[in-house]
Symmetry: none
Subunit: 125 residues, 4 copies
DNA sequence: GTGGTCTAGACCACA
DNA sequence: GTGGTCTAGACCACC
């Protein structure tokens, strides 16, 4: 979490992304407690209000739940996590497709290329 | 070409990439002449030696050919271009797969996700 | 009864309202004895004269009756209680209607809205 | 807007309520511009950040839309306004019903009482 | 001019 | 301790 921030995009959004990624990647488990607002603020070297805003944003998407006087926790609802996971997947794929299209590759090439790449890896391993 | 360079990777390699991309994308056609070393040096705000090295690198891969006293040209051999195109495609796919794996997605999810995404787009359009 | 008083309306009137509400709500039953003037004065932290005035006011409306040397009692006449109940109901409805009108709602909306709300609650329960 | 705030409920929520009421009441028309963050901050004697939070809250409910460099505007979508109006109506009715129930009145009494009250008013007028 | 973000630091309610 | 709210004042991007 000591990584620098891209100054051209709001810090609280970058914090959201980092946390969301860690949750979806499973680094922070279901129902697990996130660092407190103050802890993360110190860790990320930002103002507590900025962390609070990120946590608030995450709570609105439903991936996180706050408990008064206890802390902030990853939601216990697997459905929400699943939805987030799907959304993140689609957004990565979307980016990949737009880059490939931008390079002039057809959808056939993307699909077959991906299939071949994964198949070849299998054979090698 | 006035984009800044990533200081952590050799500029001549970045030049190679940019030129290769433009060729594969078709911005610079088959058999077409590339800008002269001096032109590109000024345009990219780098030392002519750096451009020279990039051109030499590209020539070694076979994607461009130098003609004494005339300049540097995109190869006329479609097979080479085709190979380059394939290599570039594979490297992009490789990056995509490693990122997705990094995020914890299975190969099934990548393939199906890509297929679904492309199919859905078709339906919408 | 330890609730604070609204300083902009006479305390004795507020006492009247509170007592009337408790009687109509059935907290103080028909024919039952009210707390003595002194008791209520201590309990509500007001001057006994204020309680006295409230009780006199209530007696004039007929909802309570004083018995010399015994105390103050809720009237035994159901008709009076019924009338009070109706009056209180109407005053609440009046307030509701004026608020809703204030907000720009039509009488149709009030009636249908109330009917729908009560019907929906039934279905859910 | 110079009314005092209830210190036991967040100012930004009270601001939201006041603005929502004014919009639903029609005091601020469809598509109309709201006071700027700074204006309202001065007018309501609160910090601009507090107003901003209220506006943000309203934007999330969809009743308001922000336009960069231009200001904050009441949404042009009648459906959203209609929905807000319905929600507000239901919440008022809910409060009324719970108060009446609390006083010991039956649903019959509420409905008939309201109907009678509105009918009587008609006759008088 | 508009809203958007961020900081620093305050006080609060809840547990 | 936790998060929730608020203030004061800064700088930014957009129009």
């Amino acid at each position: 979490m000591a990584q620098p921030f891209n100054p051209s995009v709001p810090i609280y959004l970058q914090l959201c992304e980092r946390i969301k990624n860690r949750i979806i990647r499973g680094e922070i488990g279901i129902g697990e407690r996130l660092p407190s607002v103050r802890e993360l603020a110190i860790d990320a070297a930002v103002n507590p209000n900025t962390v609070q805003r990120a946590y608030r944003e995450l709570e609105e998407t439903g991936i996180v739940e706050k408990k008064r006087g206890q802390g902030t926790f990853v939601t216990e609802k697997p459905a929400v996590l699943q939805r987030m996971r799907e959304e993140l997947k689609t957004s990565h794929i979307k980016l990949f497709v737009s880059e490939m299209r931008e390079m002039g590759y057809s959808e056939r090439e993307m699909l077959d290329g991906l299939k071949d790449f994964l198949t070849d890896k299998e054979e090698k391993e």
